[in-house]
């Protein structure tokens, strides 16, 4: 990278339902991250936010509404529609150009105010063909899960293990919405949503305002003695027509390859110490292991069987509990980056992994069966 960008501070609010006003919550989280960074609103160069109208109380042109609480008054600010890890990417670009020294990145979603997730994701369906059939992210995931299990002989127990791991990890995460000590049987016996997905294998509908302060190299070194560098990032989008796609070989590989190239990662297994990935459906975590290069195609089940991705495993994945524990839809990718930041700085409290984390991966995804992915590599 020609110019380095670092994350210098993060702030997040809890994922369980809150009776607070959206606008006020956004102000508090913004203020918290500014205070942590030791900066005032006036000093910030730019703001890039992420939100999406259907996930935003039905108030459209979302960033108009929360412009004030995110400190953007009379600033050159912008917004990504949808997954917030894309806002991180856009903010990093703004700093790399040299136009801005600091950029506040914030993802905003208050799940408790919105209808069920599938009522929202149904809105991705075109009105002529897919919508009358009721294609939602859950239905698409169920189709993908069946294909995955059939092709690679993945067992339902292996998928359930992801939920056991993540919901268990979440017990140590004060920001997580859903948490608990579950067995594989508990997971499999929870209500069926769309077969073979059961409720505990599907992400809940959570709240999340996640703010990160990004800074240029020079500025970052003034603001903190532990900057977390954004070493690389990448994204990729798949085709829309679900019947045209290979649901088992999507665009995460390309998104990751771009991030790895930028970050100089040639051997992800060896060079990545920890990963926070977006797994709205438990089985997808196994697929994402494969597409991130942690194992070969179809090898995800074996990886979880071995405990490879446990908190004390060789490559911990989702020590925060991931999205199965906390799903503030649009904010979830940025929350992964925030968690990775905390792990690298050794500030993840009870959910801090024991091994030293120098390089971490953050991942976000949205769209049917993971149509659109973003990956970021963070490092000390």
């Amino acid at each position: 990278m020609t110019k380095k960008v670092a994350i210098v501070a993060v702030a997040q609010n809890a994922g369980a339902e809150s009776k607070d006003n959206f606008y006020d919550e956004a102000y508090r989280v913004t203020k918290e991250v500014l205070d942590k960074a030791g900066m005032t609103r006036d000093e910030i160069g730019s703001v890039v936010s992420a939100s999406s109208d259907v996930f935003h109380g039905g108030i459209s042109c979302a960033n108009a509404y929360y412009w004030d609480p995110t400190g953007a008054f009379l600033k050159n600010a912008s917004r990504q529609d949808g997954e917030s890890l894309f806002a991180l990417i856009y903010a990093a670009m703004r700093i790399i150009t040299g136009h801005f020294d600091t950029v506040l990145v914030i993802g905003l979603c208050k799940g408790s105010e919105n209808p069920e997730l599938d009522a929202c994701t149904l809105m991705y369906s075109d009105p002529f063909y897919l919508r009358p059939l009721g294609l939602t992210e859950t239905m698409a995931a169920a189709l993908q899960m069946k294909l995955y299990m059939e092709k690679y002989k993945i067992r339902k127990e292996q998928c359930a293990k992801v939920a056991v791991k993540n919901l268990g990890n979440a017990l140590r995460n004060p920001f997580a919405h859903r948490k608990g000590r579950y067995t594989v049987e508990d997971i499999l016996k929870s209500d069926t949503v769309v077969d073979p997905l059961t409720e505990l294998q599907c992400a809940p509908k959570s709240e999340g305002m996640i703010a990160l302060l990004l800074a240029s190299e020079k500025k970052a070194k003034k603001l903190t003695d532990k900057p977390v560098w954004i070493r690389g990032f990448g994204s990729s989008i798949d085709a829309y027509m679900i019947g045209d796609r290979d649901l088992l070989d999507g665009q995460l590989k390309n998104a990751a390859a771009r991030a790895y190239k930028m970050a100089g990662i040639r051997n992800p297994l060896k060079q990545i110490d920890l990963a926070e990935i977006t797994e709205p459906y438990a089985f997808q975590e196994l697929m994402w292991y494969e597409q991130l290069g942690f194992c070969k195609a179809g090898g995800g089940g074996k990886l979880i069987d071995k405990g490879f991705t446990d908190m004390d495993g060789a490559l911990p994945v989702n020590p925060s509990g991931g999205v199965l524990a906390n799903n503030p839809y649009v904010s979830r990718g940025l929350q992964r980056a925030a968690e990775a930041f905390l792990q690298i700085r050794g500030e993840a409290g009870e959910r801090q992994v024991k091994k030293k984390v120098r390089t971490a991966l953050a991942h976000g995804v949205h769209g049917f069966a993971g149509q659109c992915h973003a990956v970021a590599i963070l490092g000390s």
Binding site: T2, K3, S52, D53, V54, G58, I59, S60, C61, A62, N63, A64, Y65, Y66, W67, D68, A72, F73, L74, K75, N76, A77, S78, R79, Q80, D81, G82, F86, I89, Y90, M93, R94, I96, T97, G98, H99, C120, M123, Y124, D126, P127, G234, S235, S236, I237, D238, A239, Y240, M241, Q251, N254, A255, R258, H366, G367, F368, Q371, C372
Partner: protein
């Protein structure tokens, strides 16, 4: 600041009522045209950025999913930028920062809207929160009517003078639309027609306001290395600026309109422009309302506050004036909102590369493109020039 970036090609749809095509096909029409224009193929593109108005407009959320094939974005890095009416310029800014950062050499920017498939006023009402402001803001015309009143009262501009100047602008732009093959509304109007048209929100009448249009625009941004390699005439990005004010309509002064003033100033500073009226050859101002257009001239420093109606009536901002504004017919004649800001950028690029056909401003070398969004909340500017 960052690498040099140029626009090397544009594509627009025939804007208007396009019930002859589905929304994805409309998007594809613009994308095909920009590839034709540049001689490039989708394979050459390093990244795509798209944007549009909120989901309520056409009833589809996160449209970059739906249009992935139409934009030929499959397998590519993607960004989706949305800032209400200013989206078109925000998309252009996103593409600019992407290339300027060195992370891409060729970025495709696509803005689109199919307003005839939805209800635009009902959609715009959802921008306003339902606790307080939604009861009082009756779509865009009311807001601009109030802004206009505050402006004319502040500077003592007589009602009939402003009415005449607004009519002059309407006639000018409706005429220009005939010289723009892509423009939507092509009707011959006289000042008398404008002054006696149906009242929308007093004093704004039907011919003072933009239409609901279907349309898409695609623009390719390139690094200096790529622009030189491709060897076509390029429109260089000389400056960008953007500002937003408070969300609540009553919180900021909308006459000495700081978001517009400062967005322009930021772009001028980067471009080294000290006297915009003299140095700019053409301006594609976001102008859905004739009355508001004149206030933009003042906020952008084309003339002093309170003086634009006089200059309008003298022809200063007409096609043959000293600073032609919206020779394409502007937003007043064509407004597919998600695309509109990007169309202003495309038109500015066409002007400085001599490709504006029948509405070319002869010898144009430096152009301003602008878009406004929210309830008079956001303003974004891009300055394009024929020289690096």
């Amino acid at each position: 600041m960052g690498r040099a970036v140029a626009i090397i090609g544009v594509g627009q749809t025939r804007h208007g009522r396009r019930m002859d095509v589905s929304y994805p096909d409309l998007v594809r029409e613009a994308v095909l045209r920009v590839f034709e224009d540049t001689g490039l193929s989708p394979r050459d593109i390093d990244g795509v950025v798209s944007g549009t108005m909120p989901s309520m407009m056409e009833g589809i959320a996160l449209t970059h999913f739906y249009f992935s094939e139409a934009m030929q974005a499959v397998g590519k890095p993607i960004l989706k930028t949305e800032t209400c009416g200013s989206t078109g310029v925000s998309i252009a800014h996103t593409a600019y920062y992407w290339v300027a950062s060195g992370l891409a050499d060729l970025v495709l920017a696509v803005g689109h809207e199919k307003m005839n498939e939805g209800n635009s006023q009902a959609t715009m009402t959802t921008v306003v929160e339902p606790f307080y402001q939604r009861y009082f803001i009756s779509g865009a015309p009311g807001v601009f009517s109030m802004q206009s009143q505050m402006w004319t009262a502040r500077y003592g501009i007589p009602e009939d003078k402003i009415r005449d100047a607004a009519a002059f602008i309407s006639v000018t732009h409706h005429d220009s639309a005939f010289d723009n093959p892509y423009a939507h509304v092509k009707i011959k109007v006289t000042a008398e027609d404008v002054k006696t048209a149906r009242v929308i929100t007093y004093p704004i009448r039907l011919l003072d306001v933009c239409p609901n249009s279907d349309g898409a625009c695609a623009v390719i941004f390139a690094s200096e290395k790529m622009a030189k390699k491709i060897g076509r005439k390029a429109a260089w990005v000389k400056g960008v600026g953007y500002r937003g004010e408070e969300y609540f309509f009553g919180d900021s002064d909308k006459v000495v309109w700081e978001s517009a003033i400062q967005a322009a100033r930021q772009a001028y500073d980067q471009a080294g422009i000290k006297n915009p009226r003299k140095e700019l050859d053409v301006a594609e101002v976001y102008n859905p309302f004739t009355y508001q257009e004149m206030l933009f001239y003042e906020c952008f420093g084309f003339c002093d506050f309170g003086t634009s109606p006089d200059l309008v009536l003298k022809g200063t901002f007409s096609r043959k004036g000293s600073l032609p504004c919206d020779p394409s017919g502007g937003t007043l004649c064509t407004n597919p909102i998600g695309a509109t800001g990007l169309i202003r950028v495309a038109e500015a690029a066409m002007q400085v590369t001599g490709k504006a056909g029948d509405h070319q401003v002869p010898g144009a070398k430096l152009a301003l493109a602008h878009a406004m969004g929210g309830v008079d909340q956001f303003n974004g500017i891009m300055i394009l020039g024929s020289k690096l």
